[in-house]
């Protein structure tokens, strides 16, 4: 299970992950989320410079089944968007914690991340939600 919930990330109840490196947070959706959504066909992410707020919608992800909102794990400003997803949205399915990252933000309050779930907590949460 470890590769399905990398221990160095933090997780939201809405199935996003965040990787903190200095004051930068990289955000994506979890393996559990991509599996539940099915084949991703389109990612609608905000432009660089857009402010995002913890717990608020910052974009949408569209699969063959449904369009789902993306909720930001933390507050800050978008510094980079994964443009490769425009041509290869399948990266989100194939490598949700790597090539399938969505946006990077400059964190405005790093303590917000501490309130998120750890890998173990998220694994238990996802398993329980599925049953």
């Amino acid at each position: 299970m470890s590769n399905k919930t990398p221990p160095n990330l933090r997780y939201t109840k809405d199935h996003e992950w965040i990787l903190v490196d200095g004051s930068t947070g990289t955000i994506g959706i979890t393996d559990h989320a991509q599996d539940a959504l099915g084949d991703i066909v389109f990612v609608d992410a905000p432009k660089t410079g857009t402010p995002v707020q913890a717990g608020k919608v910052f974009g949408t992800v569209e699969s063959v089944k449904a369009v789902s909102d993306l909720f930001s794990p933390a507050s800050g400003e978008v510094t980079e968007v994964n443009d490769t997803l425009k041509d290869s949205p399948e990266s989100v399915n194939e490598d949700p914690y790597g090539k399938g990252w969505l946006i990077k933000i400059k964190l405005s309050d790093k303590s917000e991340v501490d309130a998120l779930m750890t890998a173990d907590q998220y694994s238990a949460y996802a398993a329980q939600e599925h049953s």
Partner: protein, 493 residues
């Protein structure tokens, strides 16, 4: 065993553009009996359209065969059961088509003087009165062109009403079981959306609602019965919670086929709602054809209804009132999709109160018959009692790797249109089945037998199901590639 269908040879057919060859034509006009004139000289060169490039040149029989062949590739309600949950794909009696096509009705022009359009105005007034009675509301507009358009009209009415009270507010609450159009509508109407999680029964969570309602909330948009087919039994309490904070209760009438002549939204606290006449009140739909989404409201919202409004003219006739100071304005050209209104009136009057009630009871009975006959082989998403549709999930079939979409495709091999796949989102692997009142026990039994056979195949030959359909003209489409790399137009070169 597949009993309903067998394979049969169908004709290949290309696009009509590909059939074209220069010089072919379908008819000959007689010799003109007046002298020919040059249209450019008579009307001005800019009024003359040049030849349409690549316009297909084909003979009459080629046109006839083209469309006849294409029609044999189709599946419609006239072929058999169409259990697409949440869509109410009922059979629409042909007499309603006949009535809508009557010369005096179909040939009417919207700019005809009111004195010469009394029949059409009466049709609208009668339909309004019946729909108000059926919904238990106070007033109605027939203008909106379909369900989502009705939602938008309803939200704009709420906004106008709240604005008149001093504050349009900022948020609309929507349960996580809602149709996707609800949040889209709220956003288009300028509201922020807040999702309300359903409780363990798949219903509205009153506590969550209570916590979410504030002076910022304009309305709750709820579908009742909800998308699981479950009647929201706390709807009246939800209305109380909303009204206590000055918020409105919007009901999406997509599932009215479960309520007509049995329960009235106006009686359980709804302030504004729309009806899908093309679902519940007899108009063929699903092909993108016209619908109608009338919006019914309580008294306090009436001043804001779109104009024109059909009214008594005080002389035993009817007129269109365009003067309403607080109206949100027109939402659709003329008076809406009139042909749909005619069908709805014909349907309502032909059935009458008792007929409508029987229709509702039959729709609920059919759904529950399917549910009872399949519950030993498929898991129910939620166990509460359901009305006009039932939702299973693919949990048991997933153990052999078969998903809801695969089972739906396999149904095609058995001669049925698939059920609704993967919706509502709160039921993982959902299989949503709505037979409507249309189906006889014989057709239902064929469907049940097909679903039971497929359950067996899922266990013993999962690959057969995963690669379905097997017997169709074209096998499984690559839906993912179609969405990721869509080809949106045909090119001749």
């Amino acid at each position: 065993m597949v009993r309903k269908v067998r394979e049969h040879i169908s004709q290949n057919e290309g696009l009509i553009f590909e059939r074209s060859s220069a010089g072919k034509y379908a008819y000959q006009l007689p010799e003109a009996q007046v002298p020919e004139i040059d249209p450019a000289a008579a009307l001005g060169a800019d009024a003359v359209r040049p030849e349409i490039p690549d316009f297909p040149e084909v003979s009459e029989v080629e046109v006839v065969r083209h469309f006849t062949r294409l029609s044999t590739w189709n599946y419609g309600i006239d072929h058999g059961m169409y259990p697409l949950g949440s869509c109410t794909m009922k059979y629409n009696a042909k007499i309603n088509e006949y009535v809508a096509r009557l010369e005096g009705i179909a040939g009417e022009h919207p700019y005809q003087p009111e004195a010469l359009a009394q029949g059409c105005l009466k049709i609208m007034k009668l339909l309004q009165d019946y729909l108000i009675e059926i919904t238990g509301m106070d007033a109605i507009t027939l203008q909106p062109a379909a369900g989502a358009h009705g939602e938008l009209t309803g939200c704009l009415l709420i906004r106008a009403y709240l604005q008149s009270q001093g504050n349009p507010r900022t948020k609309i609450l929507i349960p996580d079981s809602a149709h996707g159009t609800n949040p889209a509508t709220a956003v288009i109407a300028g509201y922020e959306v807040e999702a309300i999680r359903s409780n363990s029964k798949g219903c509205l969570d009153l506590e969550a609602l209570h916590n979410a309602v504030s002076e910022d909330v304009a309305a709750l948009m709820v579908t009742n019965p909800n998308t699981l087919g479950i009647f929201e039994e706390n709807i009246a309490k939800a209305a109380e919670i909303l009204h206590a904070k000055g918020a409105q209760l919007y009901m999406d009438g997509a599932n009215m086929n479960a309520l007509v002549a049995m329960a009235r939204p106006g009686d359980f606290g709804v302030d504004v709602m729309h009806l899908n006449l093309h679902k519940t009140f007899s108009t063929p739909h699903g092909g993108g054809g016209p619908g109608a989404g009338p919006v019914a409201v309580k008294k306090h919202l009436e001043p804001f209804l779109p104009v024109p409004v059909v009214e008594d003219d005080g002389k035993g006739g009817w007129k269109l009132n365009h003067k309403r100071k607080q109206s949100i304005g027109r939402v659709r050209a003329y008076v809406g999709n009139f042909g749909v209104l005619v069908r709805a009136l014909a349907y309502t009057m032909a059935n009458g109160r008792d007929g409508l009630r029987q229709t509702t009871l039959d729709a609920v009975l059919n759904s529950n018959y399917i549910r009872a006959k399949l519950a030993d082989l498929y898991d129910l998403a939620y166990s509460g009692p359901t009305l006009h549709e039932c939702v299973f999930n693919d949990k048991r079939q997933l153990t052999s790797g078969v998903r809801t979409g695969d089972i739906a495709k396999r149904l095609i091999d058995y001669g049925f249109h698939p059920y609704t796949v993967s919706f509502p989102l709160i039921a993982a692997g959902a299989m949503m089945i709505e037979p409507t009142e249309t189906e006889s026990k014989e057709e239902l039994d064929l469907f049940i037998a097909a679903m039971r056979d497929i359950a067996g195949e899922c266990a013993t030959q999962p690959e057969l199901v995963k690669n379905a359909p097997q017997s169709t003209r074209v096998t499984r489409m690559d839906e993912v590639a179609a969405a990721r790399k869509p080809v949106l137009r045909w090119k001749s070169h």
